[in-house]
Amino acid sequence: MRPFAFQRAAGPEQAVHLGADSAQGQTDTPVQFLAGGTTLIDLMKLDVLRPQRLVDLRDALGSHRSIICDERGLHLGAFATMAAVAAHAGVLESYPVIAQSLALAASAQIRNMATLGGNVLQRTRCSYYRDTSWSACNKRLPGSGCAAITGFNRNHAVLGVGPNCISQYPGDFAVALVALEADVSLSGPHGVRRMPFSLLHSPLGEQPQIEHSLRAGEIITGFSIPPGAWTRRSLYLKVRDRSSYEFALASAAVAMALDGDMVRAVRIGLGGIAYRPWRSVEAEQRLTGRPLTEANAEAAAAAALAGAQTQRDNVYKPELARRTLVRALLQARLLPAAASGA
């Protein structure tokens, strides 16, 4: 960790002003916003992130922690903690996939500290990114190459990757958000705006170091999940080596409205396997209007993983991800019929 200046913004305007150089999450960004700190402080200790200034948002925006669950959908303040949302009765009842994606993530200690806004922006767990003694990492040192492609890559991504980066987006909550077509609310130098959550994380292009589409100085203030007949019959299935405190080898967020066995509508997100939070419209299309049989679930899973690109140590991932999705779909089918009529 290197010396840095610490500033606590008094209000939203000052936060935006102080954070004007926050750029788009690059490693050399001179200013970083601090919320729960559960990713940022780690990466500063590892010397991966070297901000000259931290802008603490808790005083300025800490009030954005509401959890509103009503007929207009689910609104989550960006400063709500993972633990608070995971335990919220309305979320548990109407959006179980959201609650489960948070409850199955991290550890109890981290869930108590980490905020939703920070959670969706957590960095990859790629060892070659997180250890500065590796000289090749396009995400950390633009243009330096990718050590992971020829290195140990058991838990690297197979979807959305390219020859310049195979890092995996490690979060769970964002997978549920992208599946449920959430919007993200932002506050920035030019006022407030809202955009589809699916646009927040940048697809892999020529610049892996640019991780998201936030403008300089922009702060996430909340998430809005639209209501839908599918949100109650939903779940998050996370497959991993140990039972808790571990990132996914493969995960699936599924939400569906059934008419008997017939799929009226379905939303599918995949985690643990992709460069960014991944929604599989292909899998959704394979199921919509068809009966939810094992064969159809397998066909949907095959469609979801059709573009997978594997490396030496993650050859297993497409198969594990397919099985994870099939299991999630069949488990969701067995959930009790929900009050929404799904």
Binding site: M1, S135, Y245, E246, Y316, L320
Partner: protein
């Protein structure tokens, strides 16, 4: 001995240091207060092989508060190279420009604050002359050779190759285990403070006299100038012996004229200390149709560093596990550009028994026999290699008791035949074993007239409960309550004790404490029988014993300690040394020189000494996604006298949990082209969380062993983990029909 049921030995006793530990009062090495300390931070290499071409230190030196930066250029000649865990040549650190392995210590920054030292360490720039490294097995440039087996050679008997060729039933299989790191809670800290020519080292140590001698030797000091203090150790598991960093921290403290404190990071711990290297095994078994072994071969391969020949050679145990007339073993080492491995619970047996116990399970399925029965028909009371008896061996009793408790009889033998919904259910079992080792030890013990005892020796509290074990042994010998004994240990200024490893400590310390107590009893008895005012005047001193705060005669006459001790003074103090039978007389002198002096359970002429056990495990594997979740474990152990059943239960249980971990989770991942570890943290190096630990039942099978040593103690530090990995792998086979021979067993191997 006191009245039945009142003996301290064998009674469950809460740890005398328990409150201190849970309240934070226990002082671990980096808690030791130092006057005006400076702080050190390690700089480690980012390549695995090559040379340092040069340092650029200008940015680092400019950080405010930086006091010194040690490199080979300015301190390399000030210390002799540190030996490896086997006492032989190992990799270097600051001695020269050579890079032997990833993460090697190449510079130490010393500053007024930890933060300044860390910031400056990040700014040290190193230019390397790189060479292509070899990561391990199968890497170009790695060099494999047979181990140096010592005078006894590798265990052999009969003609295994010839008998195998004609054996009615044969198993021929290869197995492997990955690199693993101890990851004790407490990091590899070192603080050094000079007082004139005297050096005090505060360091977690399981070999204080070893560290004292090693540090003195490297710095050219008289060993009496070095004191190593290690009152509590936050987990050792084999990793906390003499090590390369100590001398450099001492030199840093000397150079700046202040105490220096080093707390390396978790990730540095993966490369600045030892670990369990990866192993490979080829096992062949030949058997008769009724399951009797007629031939057994076990060849092992282990990775080590370039200069070190360190190996664990667990064929010493696997060759002795079952009755078999034809045995052949061999061990090879592969030199690669890696840090030198070392002891890790249980050094030889964890990897080697994995191979053997999986092979025995494979044999059972080939024979269509119950795996428990295969072990029963091959059980023996005679060491098949040496041809001498086991001091005691209750393996079948362990299997029987654990199997009954587990409900092994309800197992459906066919693989993949038991299910619970979408989960495949598997049952597996395996043998546990560990040799009963013992070392020399010395102690200073005193008994006061007010009925209080003080015991002092340089024993090691590495989490196993040494303070309490020593207190129990003294209370037993002096007829006191455990709470009336004050134990001081963890300081090399106290009489020496062998390294806290190889399950020897309870035995070695209890034997020497018993000897000291006998000396106290003898002196009090002698004084009493020659004293006209004693009720024992004129009696045979050998007929008197210490019991319930009194000197007691055969006719139940009593003399209080107040009187019996008061006759000799207010306090009777004795010093005792114990060299166990079978060790040469010079063993005590060697111990005092910090050398490894221990009598191994397989090195004796009279008996072969081992503790045994049996593990039973039930696990569940999801039929689609193949996650493995352990449902329950029942393990039984027979290990002679159990000094403290409460601590023993915890120690066994900890070993079982570590065994589950070793089977399913733990692996240090290698980037094979760079020969570097990549998961050097506790998020990515997986160990079990609470949710992974199921119901674990421990059965302590009573066992009285009059041959292993006078107290019948076998030692239980290591045995709990041994064989657990095989029991899990065998249960995975039972659940799925898939034999996974390479650890760890993870979902992708079952898809």
């Amino acid at each position: 001995m006191g009245a039945p049921g009142t003996d301290p030995v064998g009674r469950p006793t809460v740890r005398v240091d328990g409150v201190a530990k849970v309240t934070g009062a226990a002082r671990f090495s980096s808690d030791e207060p130092l006057a005006n300390p400076a702080f050190a931070y390690l700089v480690t290499s980012s390549i695995a092989r090559g040379r340092i071409a040069g340092f650029r230190l200008n940015h680092a030196s400019a950080v405010p508060g930086v006091l010194d930066i040690l490199t080979y250029e300015n301190v390399g000649r000030l210390a002799k190279p540190a030996p490896g865990p086997d006492g032989k040549p190992s990799t270097s650190t600051l001695e020269d420009a050579r890079i032997w392995h990833d993460g090697q210590i190449i510079a130490i920054v010393v500053a007024d604050t930890y933060e300044a030292a860390r910031a400056a360490a990040n700014l040290v720039e190193v230019d390397y002359t790189r060479e292509v490294p070899s990561a391990g097995f199968g890497s170009a440039g790695a060099m494999t050779e047979p181990r140096e087996a010592g005078p006894a050679g590798n265990p052999q008997r009969g003609d295994a190759a010839a008998v195998l060729a004609t054996a009615p039933v044969r198993i021929d299989a290869s197995y492997s285990t990955p690199p693993q790191h101890h990851n004790a809670m407490e990091l590899f800290t070192t603080s050094c403070a000079w007082d004139g020519p005297q050096l005090t080292v505060y360091e977690p140590s399981q070999s204080m006299w070893g560290s004292k001698a090693s540090t003195a030797g490297r710095l050219g000091l008289d060993p009496d100038q070095v004191r190593v203090v290690s009152r509590f150790v936050g987990g050792a598991f084999g990793s906390k012996g003499p090590n390369p960093r100590t001398a450099w921290v001492a030199i840093a403290a000397k150079r700046i004229g202040r105490p220096v404190k080093l707390v390396p990071t978790r990730d540095q711990g993966f490369t600045v200390a030892t670990y369990r290297a990866e192993t490979r095994h080829h096992v062949q078994l030949g058997a008769t149709p009724d399951g009797r072994l007629v031939a057994l071969t076990h060849e092992g391969w282990e990775v080590t560093s370039r200069p070190s020949g360190y190996n664990v050679a667990g064929v010493e145990s696997t060759a002795r596990m079952y009755a078999c007339p034809n045995i052949a073993t061999a061990v090879n080492i592969t030199h690669a550009d890696r840090n030198t491995p070392g002891f890790m619970r249980a050094p030889p047996d964890t990897p080697y028994m994995f191979a053997l116990e999986c092979a025995i399970d494979e044999l059972a399925y080939a024979l269509q026999m119950d795996p428990v029965e295969v072990r029963r028909v091959n059980d023996t009371q005679t060491d098949p290699v040496a041809g001498i008896p086991f001091s005691s061996r209750s393996l079948t009793q362990c299997f029987d008791q654990a199997a009954a408790r587990f409900g092994w009889g309800s197992r459906s033998a066919e693989p993949r035949s038991m299910q619970d919904g979408d989960w495949l259910v598997g049952y597996g079992c395996a043998t546990a074993c560990y040799p009963s080792n013992v070392g020399p030890a010395a102690v200073r013990l005193s008994l006061s007239a007010d009925g209080k005892a003080q015991v002092a020796l340089a024993a090691h509290e590495i989490g196993t409960g040494a303070y309490t074990t020593v207190a129990i042994a003294a209370a037993q010998g002096l007829g006191l309550q455990v709470t009336e004994v004050t134990v001081t240990l963890g300081d090399s200024n106290l009489p020496p004790v062998a390294i806290a490893g190889g399950s020897n400590n309870a035995t070695s310390t209890a034997l020497v404490v018993a000897k000291a107590c006998e000396r106290v009893r003898s002196q009090l008895a002698q004084a009493a029988v020659t004293s006209p005012d004693s009720p024992f005047h004129g009696r045979d001193p050998a007929s008197l014993r210490l019991e319930n705060h009194a000197l007691v005669g055969s006719n139940d006459a009593r003399e209080s300690l107040q009187d019996a001790v008061g006759r000799t003074g207010q306090r009777l103090e004795v010093y005792a040394e114990n060299v166990p039978a079978g060790l040469p007389h010079g063993a005590m002198a060697e111990l005092m020189q910090g050398k490894f002096a221990m009598l191994g359970g397989t090195a004796r002429k009279d008996v072969t000494a081992y503790a045994f056990g049996a593990h039973f495990v039930e696990l569940r594997i999801h039929r689609r996604t193949c996650e493995i979740r352990v449902a329950r474990v029942v393990s039984a152990f027979a290990a002679g006298t159990i000094v403290n059943p409460l601590a023993a239960h915890s120690q066994y249980m900890g070993g079982v949990i570590w065994g589950l971990s070793s089977a399913l989770l733990e692996a240090t991942d290698l980037d094979t082209s760079a020969a570097r570890y990549v998961n050097k943290n506790l998020a990515d190096y997986l160990i079990p969380v609470n949710a992974d630990v199921p119901s674990i039942e421990i059965i302590m099978v009573p066992e009285r062993d009059t041959r292993v040593n006078p107290l019948g103690i076998k030692g239980i530090g290591e045995i709990g983990i041994v064989g657990m990995n095989a029991a899990v792998a065998n249960a995975v086979f039972h659940a799925t029909g898939k034999r996974v021979r390479d650890l760890p067993i993870r979902a992708e191997k079952l898809l």
